[in-house]
Amino acid sequence: MADEKMQKEGMMEEKEIFVLTDVSLITCIVQRGLADIVVNAATDAGAQGGTVYFARGYGIRERLGTLGVAIEAEKEVIMIVVSDEQADRVFERIYTTARLSTPGMGIMFVSRLEKAATYIPPEVIANMRRNRRKALGENG
């Protein structure tokens, strides 16, 4: 996630806060057992990872398949945070790999995040500081 724009938010109890801006959250809801395929597709397309949890779906399932048994009610929800520039690529890769165009397979949506924060390797922070100093030097 090194290509997201980073901002130094300020100090709180003498601790620097680094946040990532221009990031999006991809949420994908699929049938139970398919989360690995989704997370694999996302990481192949450049995402750093994903978080998976179980949920129960309810909707038009009863109208699909024989007595509604064809569509698994148990779902897996996958959350993947990506940079805005990666979002389209990761979204498309998941869509094709998990075959979301198949009816009843699942849904996926992207929401824009105001900001995010996580561990940022020290070398990335050092690089960012160097670039900032350079930019300030160029601007006088």
Binding site: N40, Y53, T118
Partner: protein
């Protein structure tokens, strides 16, 4: 819906190592007065644990979801960052997104402090 008088807010989602959610929620309640929050279990996989044949192992996580007023959001975000040491390696992910509408949640007066 605008007539209903609901204003927007922020949704803060925090993915933490297993076992971190309840102590953090307790602090948020005691120190920030938050009540509209919940947590659930999840599993996380990333590039760091990945093998040549695909995904490596999953790690158990706790995911906290907090709805806050826009004015309070920055403060709560920073508080979680510092309290949960989000900036340290393998300590999770914190994110914040804008909510179009947020219903107010208040507890009845004199509720049991459980």
């Amino acid at each position: 819906m605008a007539d209903a008088g609901f204003s927007g807010g922020m949704l803060i989602t925090c993915i933490l190592p297993k076992g971190s959610a309840i102590p953090l929620m307790k602090k948020l309640r005691e120190e920030k007065g938050l009540t509209a929050m919940s947590f659930h279990h999840a599993r996380g996989a990333g590039r760091s644990g990945r093998s040549r044949h695909g995904l490596g192992h999953y790690v158990e996580n706790h995911v906290i979801t907090i709805a806050v007023d826009e004015e309070q959001a920055e403060d709560v975000f920073n508080f979680i960052y510092v309290t949960a040491n989000i900036g340290d390696d393998h300590n999770g992910l914190l994110m914040m997104e804008k909510l179009h509408m947020l219903s107010p949640f208040t507890l009845p007066e004199g509720h049991l402090d459980e």
